[in-house]
């Protein structure tokens, strides 16, 4: 035998879950539980004996029910708190027993109420006394069981014995609030909810020291990190100092009550999202309602069922966890939205590289078969001469690089003058003035671009020591502009004007800008224009064409007095 009972009075070991229970604790638990059960069984048996069958069947069945409950509990106590088989780590077993005790004792109490309510004949002093004893014993069980069972799981000294107390005359005294509050229950759920909850940090705000301490111990053993505050002011200080996942908040407190604390919390961005469970006395419902309206997440009334407390803490923490997760998702969402926007911008820019903005917009709107008719535009074709001979001396890559340089420069110039560059074909360059937005001075714009392109090429030649030359052709007139095809489409132009301007270029002279009469007419007398004799244009027969050499400036006055055919 293991010297049972000799550990009484030993030094307090630090509380550690799972330490073997002092056998004396088990004995204490057995003793203190079996005593009231013995009373219940004993006195109900006596009453049964002393009541003749004929007298009252309800009495008989009531007593039988009481005996049944007590007998059931006794068996359970014996089974669970068995010296051989009891495991200190087996909280599930004591939980089950605790719940059983609570509910069976409740049944017994209800039976007692019924018995007392029955016919007057039963209300003899002795009967009431006995029933009173049964009642008291049942209450006693409910009071002491949780603490007794709780202590089975902790190390340390055996606690002071609970007062056994004598049965009062009618046994219907209310158990004192403190003892009730001392009921503790361990209810560790196997599911993930509790697994999440056990890392949480709780703040207990409660002015009664006993209650505070009991809550702290109980919740600590459940695996929570717990801090306590004895009043509202201190509670707010704690909140400032530390991060909490949940607050248990008593309503009635000195120096800032629960209402005030709740209000402050909800005003503060930092504390607003911490779940709050209010604790209050049962008759304080109005108060509780106010709290809920102010944003408390849940409430519990004293004395409260520890199972309920545990469940509600779990639920609130779960809620908070979900809320926190939601925040994380929202942030992630913001991040992705930003990236998406950036990507969309990129796509937009790419598209605008290919299409004029109004056309791009229309395409995005879902318009198909975009083909607009423009009555008045000037089309420019430019072709670089001497590129092919270049490729003899330098690598194809370098050739393309050079071409890129030139055409990039032309692109900037086209944009500068408000022309829409359409495409490049090999070493040919095509642009148009007067669309997508019509303009009256489209011919002038095209002329300016042509002249500046020549200057640009000169500079290029100087810089790169090349001797590239360029033919430029211009024509003015109507075109159809649009998109053809489904894949890899571009914004392109169709019409006679396009063909003619192309011919102007191909039938032109390197270093010169050749234009049709249409364009010449539009330019008026602001430019130095030299007529060229009729040129045989493929597909069009003989055409009068003109060379554009320069813009006439006012200073130059009459430079270039050749008449353009106006």
């Amino acid at each position: 035998m293991s010297g049972s009972g000799q550990n009484v009075g030993s030094a307090t070991a630090p509380e550690s879950a799972g330490a073997p229970p002092v056998p004396a604790r088990l004995s204490r638990a057995r003793h203190d539980l079996r005593n009231p059960l013995g009373d219940i069984l004993g006195f109900s048996e006596i009453l049964q004996d002393e009541t003749t069958d004929g007298e009252s069947p309800e009495l008989a069945s009531g007593l039988q029910a009481i005996r049944h409950s007590a007998g059931h509990l006794l068996r359970q106590v014996n089974q669970t708190l068995d010296f051989e088989t009891f495991q200190p780590s087996d909280r599930a077993a004591t939980d089950t027993l605790q719940r059983s005790i609570f509910s069976e004792a409740q049944r017994i109490l209800e039976q007692v109420d019924r018995l007392i309510a029955q016919s007057a004949a039963q209300k003899q002093p002795l009967f009431l006394e006995d029933v009173g004893r049964i009642n008291y014993a049942a209450r006693r069980l409910q009071e002491i069981a949780p603490l007794l069972l709780e202590q089975l799981h902790e190390a340390g000294t055996v606690p002071k014995p609970l007062e056994t107390g004598d049965a009062s005359r009618d046994g219907l005294e209310r158990p004192c609030a403190e003892v009730e509050f001392a009921t503790t229950l361990r209810h560790r759920e196997a599911d993930s909810q509790s697994a999440n909850a056990t890392q949480a940090t709780l703040l207990i705000v409660e002015d009664n020291e006993n209650n505070r301490e009991l809550l702290r111990r109980r919740l600590s053993r459940e695996g929570f990190t717990v801090a306590t505050a004895e009043n509202g002011r201190r509670a707010l200080e704690c909140l400032d100092e530390q991060q909490f996942d949940l607050v248990l908040l008593d309503i009635m407190m000195p120096e800032l009550d629960g209402h005030a604390v709740l209000e402050r919390m909800k005003q503060h961005e930092q504390f607003r999202h911490i779940p709050v469970i209010m604790i209050s006395a049962l008759d304080d419902i109005a108060s509780l309602v106010r709290c809920i309206e102010r944003g408390a997440d849940d409430y519990l009334t004293k004395p409260f069922d520890p199972v309920l407390l545990r469940a509600r803490i779990g639920a609130c923490l779960e809620k908070k966890r979900l809320r926190d997760q939601e925040q994380v998702y929202l942030q992630q969402l913001q991040h992705y939205l930003k990236r998406l926007e950036a990507e969309q911008d990129k796509s937009e820019r790419l598209l605008l590289n290919v299409l004029p903005k109004p056309i791009a917009d229309r395409l995005k709107e879902g318009e198909t078969g975009i083909a607009d008719s423009f009555p008045e535009v000037t089309v420019l074709f430019a072709d670089l001469v001497g590129f092919t001979s270049l490729s003899v001396h330098i690598s194809p890559t370098e050739v393309v690089h050079l071409l890129n340089e030139v055409f990039s420069a032309f692109d900037m110039l086209a944009a500068k003058h408000g022309l829409e560059k359409i495409k490049t074909i090999g070493d040919a360059y095509m642009a148009v003035a007067g669309l997508p937005t019509p303009r009256v001075d489209h011919a002038h714009a095209a002329a300016e671009l042509a002249l500046e392109m020549q200057r640009e090429l000169d500079q290029f030649n100087q810089g790169y020591r090349t001797s590239l030359r360029m033919r430029i052709g211009l024509d003015s007139g109507p075109v159809i502009a649009g998109i053809i095809g489904r894949n890899k489409f571009i914004y392109d132009l169709w019409g006679d004007t396009v063909n003619t301007s192309s011919r102007m270029e191909s039938h032109g002279v390197p270093g010169c800008i050749q234009m049709t009469e249409n364009t010449c007419r539009l330019l008026g007398n602001q430019y130095d224009i030299t007529p060229r004799g009729p040129v045989e244009i493929k597909g069009k027969g003989a055409m009068k064409t003109y060379f554009l050499t320069a813009r006439l400036t006012q200073r130059n006055g009459s430079a270039g007095a050749f008449d353009s055919e106006a």
Partner: protein, 128 residues
Amino acid sequence: MAKILIIEDTENNRILLTRRLKPRGYEVVTVDDAEKGIAAVNDLRPDLILMDIGLPGMDGWTATRQLKADPNTRHIPVIALTAHAMQGDRDRALEAGCDSYETKPIDFNALFSKIEGLIAKAPGQPLT
């Protein structure tokens, strides 16, 4: 009429035992601790003792040992009433000299038959 001495510190249990035994025709005397009990034995000359084990002060085993050691009282059958709270209660009870034991909460039918059995076979009282 056989006389039973009940040494039991809890009032409820005293009441229960008394109210169950009296209707069976026993004369019942109760005391609430072992010392009073031992003192009463000589005066009372009970036919049987119901000895609660979990007594304050002198415990039931010590009291039983004392009674069994005393030639005047050794013949009186002692039934230990143990809460069976501790391991080895049963063994200790028997080792202390108890003639029988009953665990609480008491199964009265079993108790009654034990009482009857023990009183029936008790040897005659020695002459004082």
